[in-house]
């Protein structure tokens, strides 16, 4: 048994091993980001649609489903961040004397700022959870945010989202975070196929386009909610 764990810890200690874990957790987070966006777009289908969706998530598997998802996501985010910080520190240490004249031929600005876009997204996730999940510093847990759906009392997700994004600073921070997430995804999505050894001469250009398209889809889809509410007065 310990032989297996020795090998696994050796795998994690290696450069490629850590990168593969970053790619796998990244892939899980990419799937989550897409699902999260599709679910949230239900806000445009009216109060009942998104409230029912919220109630479904909260009550799936007798309320256990949401915790399984949360713990899974926490593990994915944790591994993704710890491994990339370790990798970045090694990368900095691998070139102590910087070039007097720095030049880039093919690397994108997004690829060179992954650690900074990533850490900003981390700060955003913490804010986002405090804002809409834990709901601190606001009234979203109060009785004013309860509504009845099919005779049951449920949380009024619709009202919370509309009120949340009616405050300009929050909406602006959400939009900035989504732009950085899009930058992160534009390098990350195609990069994970390379790290997992799946890219070929034929498929690599396709993966690259797919990554850019996915980044665009996420930024447009997610930003549409605060922009519709704040700028176009949707639901207000």
């Amino acid at each position: 048994m310990s032989a297996v764990f020795d090998s696994l810890s050796r795998f994690y200690a290696s450069s490629i091993g850590k990168k593969i874990l970053v790619a796998l957790t990244g892939a899980a987070l990419v799937v989550f980001v897409l699902g999260h966006m599709i679910g949230n777009l239900l806000v445009f289908a009216g109060p009942d649609a998104i409230n029912e969706y919220g109630h479904l998530l909260q009550t799936a598997l007798h309320g256990g489903g949401v915790w399984i998802a949360r713990l899974g996501l926490l593990a994915a985010v944790g591994i993704h961040i710890i491994a990339t910080i370790q990798l970045t520190r090694q990368n900095r240490a691998a070139r102590l004397d910087r070039y007097g004249k720095e030049a880039s031929q093919v690397s994108s600005k997004s690829s060179r700022t992954m650690i900074w876009s990533g850490l900003t997204i981390l700060a955003f996730i913490i804010y986002h959870l405090l804002h809409f999940t834990v709901r601190v510093g606001n009234e979203y847990n109060s009785a004013a945010y309860k509504t009845t759906l099919h005779g049951e009392e449920v949380h009024n997700v619709y009202k919370m989202v509309i009120d949340g994004f009616s405050w300009a600073p929050a909406s602006i921070f959400y939009v900035i975070a989504m732009l950085l997430l899009s930058s992160h995804l534009s390098h990350g999505v195609s990069s994970l196929f390379q790290t997992l050894g799946l890219a070929t001469h034929r498929t690599e250009p396709l993966f690259k386009k797919l990554g850019h398209a996915f980044a665009l889809l996420i930024v447009v889809g997610n930003c549409s909610i605060p922009l519709a509410i704040l700028v176009f007065g949707y639901g207000r």
């Binding site: 290696s14 691998a94 031929q105 060179r112 195609s190 001469h201």
Partner: protein, 262 residues
């Protein structure tokens, strides 16, 4: 032929001491001199003036040995695609240009003097598995193993690597993945390399990590700088080979043990 007047900013450093840039005026350089010939002219003048000439690596001067290095204006081997420093000509520069000349910078490539770095880390990676142990014997024996034309061509593409280290110098993280993947991938593609494939991949990657190179972030600056145009698809293959070899090592154990056990 026209003559160029250039402003050089050359990295000067003695082993183990901090380095600095020295400004050198290079006047009257013929535009069809190679970059190394330009350096020769500059050094002749430095020697005549009684100062220390600039130390730089060079050998065949025909683009096949991998000895010449130098990062020129931030790009290893200079601005021309698929060209070593010795094959770069001064006609690629304009009169009055400022040229930054630096060593291949990486912690794993310590500076010996000025522009000369110790690339011994590459030799140690090769020794960790970049070979086939089996005796291939005389030519008829080698030919008894059939190799498909496509496989042979692909292996030859990887074998074009001259081990110069430009990939490390160009990488934002000083990673050696392109070099290691070309050397491992060449043998891992061929039937002669199959018996030691897993051991080779694990050994070379572990030695690479031990040498203090950075990690690949899939930005492909290495491929753009490579004088032999080695493709980053070799890195894809090494990632795959390494994942498979690690899984086999963790859950199956080494080949020798399974075969040796009764």
């Amino acid at each position: 032929m026209s003559l160029l007047n250039l402003q050089l900013k050359v990295w000067r450093q003695n082993q183990g001491q901090p380095g600095h840039f020295q400004e050198i005026q290079a006047r009257g350089i013929p535009d069809h001199a190679s970059f190394l010939e330009m350096m020769d002219i500059v050094n002749e003048r430095l020697i005549k003036d009684g100062s220390d000439p600039v130390a730089f690596d060079h050998d065949c001067r025909e683009g096949i040995c991998g000895m010449c290095s130098m990062t020129i204006n931030g790009i290893p081997h200079g601005p021309e695609k698929a060209t070593t420093t010795c094959q770069l000509h001064m006609r690629k520069f304009r009169d009055g240009d400022t040229i930054w000349i630096e060593p291949f910078r990486a912690r794993a490539f310590p500076v010996i003097k000025d522009l000369i770095v110790d690339r011994g880390a590459f030799d140690r990676i090769q020794q960790a598995g970049g070979y086939v142990t089996v005796r291939t014997g005389a030519a008829p024996d080698a030919n008894s193993i059939l190799v498909g034309k496509e496989v042979a061509d692909a292996a030859m593409d990887a074998a074009a690597c001259i081990g110069c280290g430009a990939c490390v110098a160009a990488c934002k993280n000083a990673s050696a993945m392109l070099f290691v993947s070309a050397k491992a991938g060449q043998l891992n593609s061929l039937p002669q390399g199959q018996p030691e494939k897993d051991r080779r991949t694990l050994g070379m990657v572990r030695q690479m990590d031990k040498e203090g190179f950075g990690n690949c972030t899939n930005q492909y600056e290495c491929e753009a700088a490579c004088p032999k145009e080695i493709s980053v698809r070799w890195i894809t293959k090494m990632n795959r080979d390494y994942a498979i070899a690690s899984a086999k090592e963790a859950f199956v154990g080494t080949t020798e043990r399974t075969e040796g056990g009764e």
